[in-house]
């Protein structure tokens, strides 16, 4: 006799299960397929949700600690969007002397080496400090750049690597060369989300920052736009609640004499609300799909288990006649279901991770990969197998030996 002699214990149980699975390949295959699909769906859902959570963190990081932004209502219809100007920034600096304040203006220009027009942000020397940006190389624009109206630029890491531009090289904006004095260390394109459709708030992957005092060509910006401000960033002192500073700014700009239009205040909290709204939408939509897939898999499994129990009644009778208790019989069916779902969950997780990896690497899909993305669907599927097998297993355990053998 070969080595496969198992009379009792886990190995004997596994041998029994292997035997029964081999005898019903179609049935087992169908359950396997359903649970695999459910697991893939759950892996994808968790990956999307995980990515949104990552984004929520990035949003706060990108905005800066204790920082909020004020700007005209952007991307939404407003009857009277605010017309923010440089003198409003001066007013704010005077009213909030303890806060660090930076203002930006945006424009788009044709750029050498880039197919399309690119966005250029005109900034003061405070922006990097207010936003908490770190420089990968070089320095940020300083007071001298602004006073001397230097044609210097700071560019994003993405742009630097895309155009192979490094410190001391030039970026040519509408045929005017700007010398690169710094490369930002933050990934400017990754944190754009929700209200942050405003690229000025987040920067862009191809971000270029030049001094706000640099003379710009008339074609870049009409004269009326020269003093316009698209965004003001306010960094509250560490000991001060950001909400109280927001309230102070709101009070100031509500002054009727300023005749200020509609403003939007973007705080870390409001950004998180946006992210959470998206998270909830994905959770409900994706969760429903994943839940349906898994329940479908589970109910398929359950119906197959019921049929399995019915077909194996004589075998149940034999086992009972040989001394198996109802518990032994129930355990056999539950373990069998858990094994099928476990194997399906393993394959589903592997397929899910492969699909995610391809989606991320080939299509730059916003997906998160972590251990929980794989582990949670795996465990949920096994649990589901146990839950959905419980009832058929109980039915099997409830069949008396005499009744089972009568079916023989």
């Amino acid at each position: 006799m070969k080595s496969k002699v198992f009379t009792h214990g886990a190995k004997a149980l596994l041998q029994d299960l292997w035997e029964s699975m081999r005898s019903e390949p179609g049935r087992v295959g169908l359950s396997f397929l359903a649970v695999t699909l459910g697991t893939v769906a759950l892996v994808a859902l968790l990956s999307v949700l995980g990515n949104l959570s990552d984004r929520a963190r990035q949003v706060v990081d990108a905005l800066g600690a204790n920082v909020f932004a004020v700007g005209p209502v952007f991307g939404r219809s407003s009857e009277r969007p605010a017309d923010l100007r440089a003198h409003h920034v001066a007013l704010l600096r005077a009213a909030l002397p303890d806060c660090e304040i930076s203002a930006i203006r945006r424009t788009t220009v044709p750029m050498g080496g880039v197919d399309d027009w690119t966005q250029v942000t005109l900034v003061d020397e405070h922006l990097a400090a207010v936003r908490g940006w770190r420089l990968e190389r070089g320095r940020f624009l300083d007071r001298a750049d602004l006073v001397d109206r230097q044609r210097n630029a700071v560019i994003s890491r993405d742009l630097s690597s895309k155009l192979r531009i490094t410190l001391g090289n030039s970026v040519v904006l509408d045929q005017i060369p700007f010398t690169v004095v710094g490369i930002l260390g933050v990934d400017m394109g990754s944190a754009k989300v929700g209200t942050g459709d405003d690229p000025g708030l987040w920067g862009t992957a191809a971000g270029i920052y030049i001094p706000v005092t640099t003379p710009v060509e008339r074609s870049w910006m009409p004269f009326s736009e020269i003093s316009r401000v698209h965004q003001i960033f306010v960094k509250a002192p560490p000991a001060v609640e950001i909400s109280s500073v927001v309230a102070a700014v709101q009070r100031l700009f509500r002054d009727p004499s300023l005749a200020m239009g509609d403003l939007e205040y973007v705080t870390p909290e409001s950004m998180l609300v946006q992210v959470r709204r998206i998270q909830n939408t994905v959770r409900v939509a994706g969760g429903s799909v994943a839940f349906l897939c898994l329940v479908l898999g589970g109910t398929t499994l359950m119906s197959l288990m019921v049929a399995n129990v019915r077909d194996r009644i004589p075998e149940i009778g034999l086992r009972r006649a040989l001394g198996a208790t109802g518990k032994d019989i129930a355990m056999m069916f539950v373990v069998e279901a858990c094994l099928v779902t476990g194997a399906a969950a393993f394959v589903g997780s592997a397929v899910g991770v492969t699909v995610l990896w391809i989606a991320r690497s080939q299509f730059d899909a916003p997906l998160s990969m972590s251990l929980s993305v794989v582990l949670v669907p795996f465990l949920v599927s096994i649990l589901l197998g146990g839950v959905f097998a419980y009832w058929p297993a109980r039915q099997a355990a409830g069949i008396t030996p005499a009744e089972a053998l009568r079916n023989e």
């Binding site: 006799m1 009379t7 009792h8 035997e19 004589p314 006649a321 001394g323 198996a324 005499a402 023989e408």
Partner: protein, 241 residues
């Protein structure tokens, strides 16, 4: 060991049906002594299988008392019944109840599935049981490829591999032709000769010569017909000792 392997006293078994309660066994009393070969015959629906289920501890009586190997098994203790079935009862079924994909030897080994026994010992006992029914040559053959007579002998080997106190056989020749029937009956007779107590249910009265006692089951009542080999003259299967 108790003087009787089995004692049933005034045992009733009733089932509910849409028409009301049906009494399948009505006050049956039966004692099976050590080493006896008791054959229960009777027409279909007479309660033979119900009686066999009670004897094999596969079911419980509605009323009355059943003592198996000195243990009162009338109560509701499922664990006790499972335990006795596991260790002391061997059962042979009309349709063999073999696992078709497993070999003859693996089917016999299955007898030990719910017992904690060293695999080597289980293997040796299984081989011995197969030898006892003359099937060593088919040990590695899948059960589905065996003849009906061989299948039933594998089932007998499985039932006796653990040396049960009582072998219960439910129409063991019901699906067999004459030659296979003879094979199986000779096998049972040999086991009985070695001291194994057997209770067999059959509708084939031609097999009575193999038994030491004959009891007829009719309308839920047992009637003792004969003592040792009283029916030898009516055997329709050639009996060779």
């Amino acid at each position: 060991m108790a003087p009787f392997v089995l004692e049933m006293k005034d045992v009733w078994k009733s089932f509910s049906s849409p028409a009301g309660q049906v009494d399948v066994l009505r006050g049956v009393s039966l004692s099976v002594g050590v080493g006896e070969f008791v054959m229960v015959t009777g027409p279909s629906g007479s309660g033979k299988s119900t009686l066999l289920n009670l004897v094999a501890l596969l079911d419980r009586p509605s009323r009355g008392r059943v003592v198996f190997d000195g243990v009162d098994v009338t109560g509701d203790d499922e664990t006790l019944l499972s335990d006795l079935r596991k260790h002391k009862v061997g059962t042979v079924f009309q349709r063999f109840c073999l696992l078709p994909r497993r070999s003859a030897l693996e089917n016999v080994l299955f007898r030990f599935r719910y017992l904690e026994m060293a695999p080597a010992e289980a293997l040796s006992r299984s081989r011995a049981a197969l030898a006892e029914v003359g099937l060593e040559y088919a040990a590695d053959r899948p059960a589905r490829l065996l003849s009906a007579g061989e299948m039933q002998r594998v089932a007998i080997a499985r039932a006796v591999a653990l040396r049960p106190v009582l072998l219960v056989a439910d129409e063991p020749t019901g699906n067999l032709d004459k030659a296979a029937t003879l094979e199986v009956m000779k096998c049972l007779q040999r086991l009985n000769g070695e001291g194994l107590t057997i209770l067999m249910v059959t509708h084939n009265e031609g097999l009575l010569p193999f038994a030491s006692r004959h009891t007829v089951c009719g309308s839920g009542i047992l009637t003792e017909v004969s003592g040792h080999m009283m029916m030898a003259g009516t055997c329709d299967v050639e009996k060779k000792d």
